[in-house]
């Protein structure tokens, strides 16, 4: 039993190393960047950077739990923002900008449409992967390309600006300094995390991810589960689109390039296993925070911005390494029968 305790402790360390790293990194920046970094408003900045990525990570983590990848999220994000603008904004008279539809719909109508787009693409991906047994990685990669292509078609590759205030409420407004987006994101995490730990669906996700056959033999329907996971991911991507567009009041079809990989990285850093079945959305959020702190810190340190991407990459690789080691570490098995091999062998 004593041994067991040690094992658990070891496991705990492996599972939560992320928080330790966060602490170290934060302290490092606090001491090196100084005042600028620890101001309240900067804390809000760190959080609000984390918010959009954070929402995407929820979806990514859920898909990863089923042992799949979703690389299409950033495509959904860009398409939904572009399409929303196309529906909402006033068409421009000059030739410079993108041409809007002129429908000038009310944001309250547009936002649900965005969600529908996200859900639809998620469903399509799910179908292709579960029914046609296509490789999830490549399917989602290709889907990303397709969605971006459509976004380009709609926008003509143009910047689209001037989303209405009502629409920007989520991403843009701050209630005495505290960004609404951050609040929403945090709540989202609390809720989703609770749901995944206490709902049947949460169980399904992890079971399917950890051992698809056993999950099926235990009465789950892996195909449904996986498809639904992708649908959620699509929805989250649309939601993130809403949030980001609210912050920028501007969009372009190249919006959010490279975000997907960051979401995978963040999830893995946060202890979500690429082999599926292990990890929590809460942990994934920690991963997001780490990336966000690093970005912000390096930015304030006036580090050559070109380093930032490199540093990121290294951190991600480190996370992956630790993840891989986690699977090699074999905990001991309890033997309740200590019978000697020697005994009662007929000589």
């Amino acid at each position: 039993m004593d041994k067991l305790k040690k094992i658990d402790w070891m496991k705990q360390l492996l599972d939560n190393f992320i928080w330790i790293i966060i602490a170290i990194v934060y302290l490092y920046f606090a001491s090196n960047v100084g005042g600028k970094f620890v101001t309240l408003s900067n804390q809000f900045n760190i959080l609000s950077h984390a918010s959009v990525l954070g929402i995407l990570v929820i979806g990514q983590a859920i898909v990863l739990l089923t042992g799949n990848f979703d690389l299409s999220a950033e495509g959904v994000l860009s398409l939904t923002t572009i399409f929303a603008m196309w529906l909402m904004v006033v068409p421009r008279t000059d030739a410079g900008g993108a041409q809007a539809s002129g429908l000038m719909l009310n944001p309250l109508i547009v936002i649900p449409i965005m969600f529908c787009i996200g859900i639809l693409s998620g469903w399509l991906i799910g179908m292709m992967i579960t029914r046609l047994k296509m490789n999830n990685f490549i399917v989602t990669l290709a889907m990303q390309l397709v969605l971006r292509g459509i976004a380009m078609l709609v926008s003509g590759g143009q910047i689209m600006t001037g989303s209405p205030a009502l629409f920007n409420w989520l991403g843009g407004t701050r209630i005495n300094g505290f960004p609404v987006a951050v609040g929403v994101t945090l709540i989202m995490y609390l809720v989703v995390n609770y749901l995944l730990n206490h709902s049947k669906f949460g169980r399904e996700l992890r079971a399917v991810g950890a051992n698809r056959d056993a999950a099926q033999a235990s009465g789950f329907d892996p195909k449904k589960t996986i498809t639904f996971a992708y649908i959620i991911s699509g929805f989250m991507a649309a939601f993130a689109g809403w949030m980001l567009l609210g912050r920028l009041e501007t969009t372009i079809s190249t919006l959010g390039q490279g975000m997907t990989l960051e979401t995978v990285a963040a999830s893995v850093i946060g202890g979500v296993s690429l082999k599926g079945g292990l990890g929590s959305v809460g942990g994934a959020f920690a991963g997001v925070m780490l990336l966000s702190i690093i970005d912000n810190g390096l930015n304030l340190m006036e580090v050559d911005p070109f380093w930032v991407q490199g540093v990121r990459g290294m951190i991600i690789l480190l996370a992956l390494l630790i993840e891989a080691q986690k699977f090699r570490y074999k905990p001991k098995v309890i033997h309740e029968n200590n019978e000697k091999p020697a005994e009662k062998v007929s000589a």
């Binding site: 990848f69 292709m128 046609l132 047994k133 296509m134 490789n135 990685f137 490549i138 399917v139 990669l141 290709a142 889907m143 990303q144 390309l145 397709v146 969605l147 971006r148 292509g149 459509i150 380009m152 078609l153 003509g156 590759g157 079809s253 490279g258 990989l261 995978v264 990285a265 893995v268 690429l274 050559d304 070109f306 380093w307 930032v308 991407q309 490199g310 540093v311 990121r312 990459g313 290294m314 991600i316 690789l317 992956l320 390494l321 993840e323 891989a324 080691q325 699977f327 090699r328």
Partner: protein, 356 residues
Amino acid sequence: MKTRASKFLAIILDNLIWILVLAGLVIFSVLSPSFRTPFNLVNTLSRSAYLGVLVIGQAFAMISGNFDLSSESGLGLTAMVAGLFLASTTNGGFGFEVSPILAILIMIAVGLIIGFINGILITRMRMNNLIVTIAMQMILRGLIYIISPGATASFFPKSFDWLGGGNLIKIPMEKGNLAIPTASIFIILAFIIAHIITRYTQFGRNMYAVGSNPVAAKDAGIETDKIIRIVYLISGFCMAIGGLLIAGRLDSATPRIGAGLIFPVQAAAVVGGVSLFGGRGTMIGAFGGLLLWSILDSGLSIMEVSPFWIEASRGLLLLFAVGIDAIKVKGMHQRALEESLATTQIGLKDNKIVTD
């Protein structure tokens, strides 16, 4: 009956790529006179030569049942490194202005190092090859910006550009003379060599074995991990050559070079019949994939199709390819099952044959 039909389907699917290539050629030639100009046709290949080299690398990885998504950044990095060593400080280089040969050697070294690291992480650390190479892609891209930093290096010796941008021979034609780009000949040679390696060397066949069934390969005494490491080395080498081609073609190395190239690379390989499930596909097929890709590319652009449509169509082509691949493998299982059940004596009154 059903079996014969599915067999026929299989044959069609196996050679689908060439049917598509021919179709593409015919359609575009009919639609656009400027497509069928000799100039355009000889350039069609040279334009996508650097792509083709990456396709070779990718095909190697995929045949052995792996992926290499880092190649696009690898190409960028090798090109940039070479650029920095070749170009004068005024043109954004380090100002070493080393000899082209040395520069090329450096590129190849860099490419091999990348491949080596990938291989080690995947075989020794047992990390997921997709995610490793994706992460590598980010790191390398970052590295490009760090070393360059963010600037373009350009103006290399002609001898360096010869392979990527130079001409082999000029054939006089009534309207100016027709230059045959070195790259277009080179890429054909490259594919022939790749074909020889995959088809006619022990290593090549071992690679197929590993991709087809690692366990069986191990039983046959093949060192699967070693094979995979070598495959990634080859892929790294291809990155370097790709870098050489594109740098020569542009006579400069920009930080963005190769960004997003992984899509066409994947697509060309998969459309060419290289299976995502490993062990299937030939270099000739991959070459077909490349041909189709560059024909579509030049055809669509010449016909002034909106580049946004081109973007979208690429994604669709990739999806289509992956779909075909999946169907192929499924049909294969179906056939195997049918054949195994054909011999059985048991339960004949049940005439359903169900694959899962």
